[in-house]
Structure formats: C-alpha cells, structure tokens
Amino acid sequence: MNINITNMYMKLKIAFVAILCSLSLANFAQEDGRKIPAVEIQNLDRSKFNTSDITNDGNPIIISFWATWCSPCKRELNAIAEDFEDWVDETGVKLVAVSIDDERNVQKVRPYVDGQAWEYDVYLDPNADFKRAMNVNNVPHTFLVDGEGNIVWQHNSYSPGDEIELYEMVEKLANGESIH
C-alpha cells in the first residue's frame, strides 16, 4: 500500500514537471473560451448543486462572490439590486451570488438574502471549493460570463459606481458584441 502511493506521487511529480516544461512552448494556446469549472456547491437549503448547471439560455451571467461579513460585497449587490429589474428586462442577465460564508455565518445567509429581497440566484460555498476553482483570493470578486458560457471578464474589489462599467459590458454581451 505504501509503495503504491509513493509510486503514484512520483508519477504525479513527473507529470507536473512535464506539464511545466510544456508550458514553455510558445505554440500552446487556450483557443477555447474559459468555462465555469464544475464544482459541487450548495443551494440555500443546503442541498447539492453543481456549478456546471449555471446557465441562462444564451444570455449573459454575472457571478459574484460575497459574504455576509463583507461590507463592500453587500454594497455592490445592494447597489445592483436597485436597478436589477431593469437590467433583466433589457438584457435577460442573471446574477449568481455565491456566498463564501463558512459554518460560522452560513445560517445568516438566507435571512439576509430574503430580508434584502434580492432577485439573485444565491448559492453557498462554505468550504471555498468554487472560490478556489475560480482562483478567487478575496471578496468581492465578480465575473462576467457570455451567452456561450465563456468567462470574459472579472473584477476584484468594489467602489460605488463600478456597477455602471459592469452593466455597460452586460449590454454589449446581450447585443452580441465583444467586450474587448
């Protein structure tokens, strides 16, 4: 048993060196768009939800990582909430709010979301699995996904007024334009 695991680790180490060598090749290209990784998170009722099921019928999707203890996150999501109905009417956008609250605060997420009457799809990521897979370091961190499921933009931190730039890009995506 021990020897097999050591062998496996050796093979993993070799695989890594191989991958890292390959990275130096210039002719490697990420031609396909960046997709949302498939990670198991939770619905607000703690039942399982897989992030590969995040879809919006070809319309843009905003994915925002937040926490009940993160004041700038709440400022961002409450600021967007003020105009969200119009955003949806005009572009069909969906906002997926992923809470990274761990077991200390996870019980407060649902009361807060309902208390604020948000119209977002809220999920729980209590052990930061989705946060890690999306390479998020701290919150607030927001991503924009186009109609084909490609992650086309991301932003860290929040300052009042940032939602204006975000909506300009959502409109561009909804009109089939590229945001670059």
Binding site: N105, R110, Q154, N156, G161, D162
Partner: protein
C-alpha cells in the same frame, strides 16, 4: 526525472495532437509585505530584516474531466504575526493535486480540502490571511451511486507548515437528499436531508507512561429539514477517548451538538442557533497546540464584526474544551414609501449572543493530571464530569448589536450601529485581571455619491469601556473613483488609556489601484496591536510602523 520530463516534452511535441490542446490554465497570485521600523511607544519591536513578505501563487490546469493544480508559497521572512514556522523554508510547494471527476465519481490524489457536515467532526480548510491551512495530503474519493445519495471517503496526513502532522486521518461520510432520492418528493415544499460521518485518527503512542489510545474515533449524525421559509438543522458529534494537549491528557469522551432554526420571507429573516461542545479539540497530533493540526472546526457562535474597534479588540475565540452558547440574528426591511421607512426604505438588523462555560466537577486533582499517573481503567483519568447541556456560572462572552441602515437622499445613505460586548479577557487572552471587559461601541457610517463615479465614505467609531485599555476613538475617510482608485485615511486614538504614555494615535494612509482582477494597495502608518479573526480562529496582529503592500491578481 529530468530525463523523463525531457522525453515527455519531445514526446508530447512529436504527437499530432498537443497534450494541452483544449486545456485551460488559470491561477492567482497574492503578496502581502510589510516594512518595520522600531516604535517603542506602541510596542513595535526592532525587526532585524526590517521587512516581512508572504506570497503565494496558484496554478490550475483543467482538461475535460482532469484537473491538476499546484501552489508555490514563499515567506521571506514571514510577516510579523504569522507563525514563525512558516519561515522554516523560504520557498516551497506545499500543495499539489491531481483530480478526475466524471459521472458522479470524483477522485483526488495529493492535497485537498474537505468538510463533513458542519465541520464539527472534520474540516480541512485554508484561511490565508490567518496562516491557517490544515489541508490533507492523501487520497479522497467521492461517489454518488444513485441520485440523492452522496458518499465520500478520505485518508491522509495534514499539513504542518512545511511538513506533515504525525497522525493519519481516515474518514467516511454519507448524505441522503430525500427530495432527490424519491421522485415523488422532488417538487415538494418539504425538504429533508440526512447524513452521517465516521472519522478515525491514528497516531503512534511513542514512549509514554500513559495507556495512550493510538486510534481515536469519532462519529457524527446530521439532519436538515425545511418547509417553505422555515428550516431546521441539527448535528451531533461524539469523539472517543482522546487524551491530548488541549484537555490535559484525560480520557473523557468529547461531544458537540449544534441546532439552528431559521424563518425568512421577503423583507424579514430570523435565525436562532445554539451550540454546546465539551472536550471537542480533535487534532491529528495529540501534542499539537495553538491552531495547529485541527481535524475539526469549531466556529465561534457570535457575530463576525466588521468595524475595527468591534472586531480587533475583544473578539471571541471558541473554547474547544467546553462552552455552551446561543445566538439570534434578525433582519427586517421597513418598506420604502412607508412613514417609518422613509422614501427609500430602512433596514434594521439585530443580533445577540451569549456564551458560557459548563458546570464541571473535577474528578482528578490538578497534580494528578500534571503527573499523569493513571492506571488503565482508573475512573480518575476521565478528568471531570459535566453534562453537555449544563450552563455554568462563568460567562465567556456576550454581545448585543443593533444596526440601522437608511438612505436619506438619492446620493446619501447612512448606517447607525450600537454594539455592547462583555468579554472574559482572562479566559480568552490568558490575562489575570480578575474581571470581564464591558464595552459599548457606537458607529456612524455615511456614503455620499457626489458624482456617478466618485464617492466618499466615512466611518466614526467610539468605544466606551472602563477596563483594559480604556476608551477608543476611530475615524476614517475613503474616497473612491470608480473603477480604478480608492484612497483611504484613518486614525485610531486610545485617548482613554489609564497609562498616559499609551494614549497614542494610530494614523494610516492607503492608496489602492484596481484594474479588473488585479489590485495593488500601498499603505503607510501605524498598525495597532490587536487580534484578527476569521470564523472564530484568530491570530495576533502585533503593533507595527511602516509600509504595507498588498498585491492580488487572478488570471
């Protein structure tokens, strides 16, 4: 290995289809650095290197069902306040994994994080800002044999700075979601999930006069029920004889119980949670202390404060050896257009928590425990008796919070907060003052959006207390120029300190520049000594004077 790598390099190149066709590579980078100048008034020591730098970078490669990842960390040397053992190696790779996930089967080899239920029995997680990382290094298999049934199994050793903890942890977890399992219930308003876990840790007993159990087992059962806006959660954990450094090497079993009820509807939400634990410090090395090598996670059942004076002076830290507590959290949004709510509505949040110790009866004397002279089957080696539901006289922590959030004008909103804290400083910080700290904190926060993209946010905080360091005042002003700039100036003033020499100002200036997922922030000033906590796990932040640089990037 190099020969093989070169072979793989050319081998991959020679094939028509490149190994990495269709693969995605993404990652992140984080750097936190400080410079230190001696400042004897605030207690900032002279640090020989005059700086500390913590940095890490993650890289993840995904292709179809395969994922592989690696993290490089460096501490040159560790920032003051982070455990010095991080400095045992200046750069290294403490995290690497390979994962296959398809059709309900998920296998991970290498390092991984995991949580069973609420984490009271097992939780491996990372909190980089605290220096917490108890990742497993081993193997994990997750399998869903049928819709609604989820099984997990893992085995591994835990991370211990640049090496591994002594013990090996094995665990299995099963969860059944009845709404998914039974098709009749799929669309039902009644939701039910149940789960159970079994975890066992093995650690060699070494040379000891005690009859040390090498295998320490624990089990847990949990349930989650919901109906519309109402939900109940409960989890019970039991740990079998685990003499360790936390409990003074007694053989008493450990237990934990968590119960929570929530009701919410549009505009209103309430949660009541209660938790009791007894002797539930569960580590993969029985001799580990501080925040090292915890298998489980025992969060504080108190509000996570965000305002500086409320969160860094007297924050509560869970007592793994025993505590019983209750917390309630209420949020109510008064409708916009109503008489009390005002034109834009008003949100009120109330939170209260109370944590006490248990009533315990010591069986063995302190000297016996110190000498550790039990024979097997000696009832005295249980240490003490108590009931999991007993409420002792000793108050550990109490707080009451009320927060009112109101927008007065289209471009101006304010938040008023009152916080009352009662804090058992002797227990939590190990001091010997003989009395608790009673503090009242008031905060006024305002946000002005004077143009579409420019804003000014101010915070005025004040703490009234007759104990410990006395009264504090805090003021900060933050200017935001969306989307790139945030400039902040702040000052904390301990004008109420009983020692005149310590009535000191702690001013700081910070400039942050953000471009998409890249953020760089530079600050200069005095950092007050305090405690920085996330989730009930805390680290001490020492007093410092100098520059702080924080860079974060995601790609």
């Amino acid at each position: 290995m190099v020969a093989f790598a070169t072979f793989a390099f050319y081998g991959a190149h020679a094939q028509e289809q490149h190994l990495l066709d269709g693969a995605q590579i993404h990652g992140n980078f984080d750097l936190y650095a400080q410079t230190y100048q001696e400042d004897s008034i605030i207690g900032a020591k002279d640090i020989p290197e005059k700086s500390g730098v913590n940095a890490f970078t993650n890289l993840i490669v995904t292709k179809g069902p395969f994922t592989a990842g690696i993290r490089v960390e460096s501490y040159l040397p560790p920032v003051q306040g982070f455990d010095v053992r991080f400095g045992n190696q200046s750069v290294g790779v403490p995290y690497r994994f390979a994962q296959f996930s398809k059709d309900g089967l998920d296998i991970t080899a290498g390092n991984f994080y995991e949580q069973f239920g609420s984490g009271m029995i097992l939780r491996a997680y990372e909190e980089r800002s605290l220096g917490i990382d108890n990742a497993f290094d081993g193997l994990r298999v997750k399998y869903s044999p049928y819709q609604g049934i989820y099984l997990k199994g893992l085995i591994g050793k835990q991370r211990y700075y640049w090496t591994k903890g002594d013990g090996t942890v094995r665990g299995i977890d099963g969860e059944v979601s009845f709404n998914e399992l039974i098709s009749k219930f799929e669309a039902s308003k009644f939701r039910l999930t149940a789960g159970g876990s079994f975890v066992s840790k093995f650690q060699d007993a070494g040379v000891s006069s005690l009859d040390i159990p090498e295998n320490v087992a624990s089990f847990a059962g949990r349930m989650q029920m919901g109906y519309g806006g109402l939900s109940f959660t409960g989890e019970y954990v039991r740990k079998f004889n685990d003499p360790n450094g936390d409990n003074g090497f007694i053989y008493r079993d450990g237990q934990g119980l968590f119960l929570s009820a929530t009701y919410s509807q549009k505009g209103f939400g309430i949660n009541v949670s209660a938790k009791t634990i007894d002797n539930l410090g569960y580590r993969s090395d029985r001799n580990a202390l501080l925040n090292d090598l915890f298998i489980n996670y025992l969060p504080a059942l108190t509000r996570q404060h965000t305002y500086t004076l409320a969160s860094t002076l007297y924050p509560y830290a869970t007592q793994p050896n025993g505590e019983i507590g209750i917390q309630t959290d209420i949020i109510y949004k008064i409708k916009k257009g109503s008489a009390i709510g005002g034109k834009y509505g008003t949100t009120i949040q109330i939170n209260a928590a109370l944590i006490n110790g248990h009533d315990t009866n010591q069986i063995s004397s302190a000297t016996d425990l110190a000498q550790q002279v039990y024979l097997p089957n000696d009832p005295e080696r249980e240490g003490y008796t108590t009931s999991l539901l007993s409420i002792g006289d000793k108050k550990y922590y109490q707080d009451f919070n009320i927060e009112i959030d109101r927008k007065f004008l289209k471009k101006y909103k304010m938040k008023f907060t009152y916080i009352y804290q009662e804090y058992n400083i002797d227990l939590i910080q190990g001091t010997a003052t003989g009395h608790n700290v009673y503090a009242h904190i008031g905060v006024i926060e305002g946000l002005v959006k004077f143009t579409k993209k420019q804003s000014l946010r101010y915070e005025l905080q004040h703490m009234f207390t007759e104990q410990d360091q006395g009264d504090w005042a805090f003021a900060s002003l933050e200017y935001g120029y969306s989307p790139h700039w945030i400039v902040t100036v702040l000052n904390q003033y301990n004008y109420g300190n009983p020692v005149k020499k310590l009535q000191v100002h702690y001013p700081t200036v910070q400039v942050a520049y953000v471009h998409n997922a890249n953020r760089i922030a530079l600050s200069y000033g005095r950092q007050r000594a305090g405690i920085f906590c996330v989730g009930g796990v805390c680290r001490n932040v020492p007093a410092a004077n100098g520059f702080t640089l924080a860079i974060t990037s995601s790609f």
